[in-house]
């Protein structure tokens, strides 16, 4: 809530995105509307329990058969993490961090799209903030994105001879995705990302991993700006008209010296009817300092005057992926 108070525009966007699906005036006119919400909880093998709560919503606009309008989607997600301020003290008070991401993806023409996403992290306990901007260009089956991020610690930092008022680092991330559509019901997506830091990352990594800022270690998996490289894949399978699954695995290397980080997701989805989809997910992530298990529930309702179906997805409530909520849609449930 503190983040929303600081950013009224963010609060405005949240209200619009959450309320508009339920507006009958819009619902009657906009053919392709979709929303989903996530709740999750995590435990850590080291440093006590961590809980994360989040919500994700996606609104689809336009329709592919209306050539006077471009189809587009707006998406927004928010995650709040709660953890001990000092993971080495069993009586430590709790602190929390706020993650959010959102943006728009516009289909320029068949198979081509452009997307812009913004994301942010706010940890008031550590005075850490991250702001990222990502541009995505899609030309099926490829997708390329560039993200520029600024991470800052806006607090006094003692040095050997003096104290500086804050620290900042820039990050440039390049990512390439490839979708291998094996059949109408099965797609494997490969993705790889590499980051260049300015200045080089190790000193900033040591700074946020220092004793005075030790509680950062609890949030490695939710910090968006600290991966030097990452690669992995996601397999989406539509087994029947009712059941779909999505499995992903990623390996990454972060500037915080607790590597490697392994992250896996397993999601099973149920398409109860063309407009109603429920998915249950389990995320497992592990690095030498901790293990996280996260449960995930997403409920999705869509409006579509052309009765198109939107099928299963993986939503982690973290860095936004414009395509992640709308995988390839085979001829099912028409």
């Amino acid at each position: 809530m503190a983040l929303l108070k600081k950013r009224p525009s963010l609060a405005f966007a949240v209200v619009v995105l959450l309320v508009s699906p339920f507006s009958s005036a819009f619902g009657a006119e906009i053919p392709h509307l979709l929303t989903g919400y996530d709740l999750s909880g995590s435990t850590s093998a080291a440093g006590g329990s961590i809980y994360t709560f989040g919500a994700a919503t996606t609104l689809h606009w336009g329709s592919s058969d209306d050539l006077s309008n471009r189809t587009a989607d707006t998406h927004f997600n928010y995650t709040s993490g709660i953890a001990p301020a000092n993971p080495f003290d069993p009586n430590s008070p709790l602190k929390h961090s706020d993650n959010w991401g959102g943006g728009v993806k516009i289909d320029l023409w068949e198979g081509a799209s452009i997307g812009v996403d913004l994301d942010g992290l706010e940890d008031s306990f550590e005075n850490l903030s991250t702001n990222g901007q990502k541009i995505t260009l899609g030309l099926e089956p490829f997708k390329f994105s560039y993200r520029f991020a600024q991470s800052a610690i806006n607090a006094a930092i003692p040095q050997a001879k003096s104290t500086v008022t804050g620290a900042l680092i820039y990050q440039n991330t390049f990512e390439l995705d490839y979708d291998w559509k094996m059949s109408d019901r099965s797609t494997i997506s490969f993705d790889g990302a590499y980051s260049i830091f300015n200045p080089p990352a190790p000193n900033f990594g040591n700074l946020i991993n220092a004793a005075a800022l030790a509680s950062f270690s609890n949030f490695q998996d939710t910090l968006q700006s600290f991966e030097e490289w990452k690669f992995g894949g996601t397999w989406l399978m539509l087994w029947t008209d009712l059941i779909d699954t999505s499995v992903s695995a990623h390996l990454s290397h972060e500037i915080i010296p607790a590597n490697p980080l392994i992250d896996t997701d397993l999601v099973i989805g149920f398409q109860f009817n063309p407009r109603f989809h429920v998915q249950l997910g389990w995320e497992y992530s592990h690095d030498p300092s901790q293990t996280l298990n996260t449960a995930n529930l997403e409920v999705r309702w869509s409006w579509d005057r052309y009765n198109e179906t939107v099928r299963g997805s993986v939503t982690k409530g973290q860095a936004p992926e414009p395509e992640s909520v709308e995988p390839s849609t085979p001829e099912l449930s028409k």
């Binding site: 950013r7 728009v104 610690i153 008022t165 900042l168 820039y170």
Partner: protein, 277 residues
């Protein structure tokens, strides 16, 4: 035969109907259009005059592209005594900007659209080349309109995240960075006549911050942040559509009770001409 030939002549020489006032307002107007804006602004620190040249082309698919070139004609700000005029930048828009407008839903009268654009770090004078406007910028907006024939409401949410401007001072690298500049605006149009549309508007620019980061060889930049306060502006004006010429004229008067850069109230007058070709 004579009647047929006469009809043929009339049909081949028929002139397309002049767009209505609302069609002239349409940001997704099909075909080429151009707009010229002239503004005068006065506050306790300076008086300035600025212009913006804008060219646009729209397709029937709901996509438009536009190019904006802002030029500051004069500025009496004593903080910048060595400015040369006219110069690119400052004033209404800080950067030369290329935008894509995408209509995701609707038509000329009711629509929802997105703006995705890029601001270029092209500044023509040394003052701006050493300022925070000498940097790349993303110009993002979601905007929409609902029309009830005699009245229409428009809303807009803007966000302009900028990339840092890098300078060298005393052999150290200095980065100037502005956090997201977010603003919202709402405008109510009234249509008492086919050629006249008075409007009232409210704009709010949310607080942001300027950070100055210096490379002192620590492995991270040292950071100094200063905040930029909130700005609220109320506006009133009118749009005029001459009967047989595809032109839209706009006159606007703005009052900003409090601006972060200058104490006291700021006043500005804006005039626009939009040609539809």
């Amino acid at each position: 035969m004579r009647v047929f030939l006469l009809a043929l002549v009339f049909s081949t020489t028929a002139v397309a109907a002049t767009p209505s006032l609302k069609q002239r307002e349409d940001p997704f107007y099909q075909g080429p259009s151009a707009e010229f804006t002239l503004s005068g602004t006065s506050n306790s620190v300076s008086n300035n005059t600025a212009t913006v040249f804008q060219g646009q082309y729209g397709w029937d698919t709901g996509i438009s592209i536009q190019l904006l070139v802002p030029i500051l004609v004069s500025d009496s700000n004593p903080a910048n005594p060595n400015n040369t005029f006219p110069r690119i930048g400052g004033g209404l828009n800080g950067r030369v900007e290329a935008d894509g407008l995408f209509r995701a839903w609707g038509d000329t009268y009711d629509y929802l659209g997105f703006n995705v654009g890029v601001g270029f770090p092209w500044q023509s004078t040394a003052v701006e080349q050493n300022g925070d406007q000498d940097s790349w910028l993303l110009s993002l907006a979601v905007f929409g309109r609902v029309d009830w024939d005699w009245i229409a409401l428009e809303g807009r949410l803007n966000d302009s995240p900028s990339f840092p401007a890098k300078h060298a001072a005393n052999n150290v690298e200095v980065y100037q960075d502005v956090t997201n500049s977010v603003s919202i605006s709402g405008t109510a149009f009234v249509y008492p006549y086919k050629w006249l549309a008075p409007f009232f508007a409210y704009t709010e620019v949310f607080p942001s911050a300027v950070s100055t980061s210096i490379d002192q060889g620590l492995g991270y930049f040292t950071l100094n942040q200063t905040s930029i306060g909130r700005t609220r502006t109320v506006s009133m004006g009118a749009e005029l559509a001459p009967v047989n010429v595809p032109v839209l004229l706009t006159f606007e008067f703005n009052v900003t009770p409090l601006t972060p850069a200058a104490p006291g109230t700021q006043y500005s007058g804006v005039g626009k001409v939009r040609w539809l070709f």
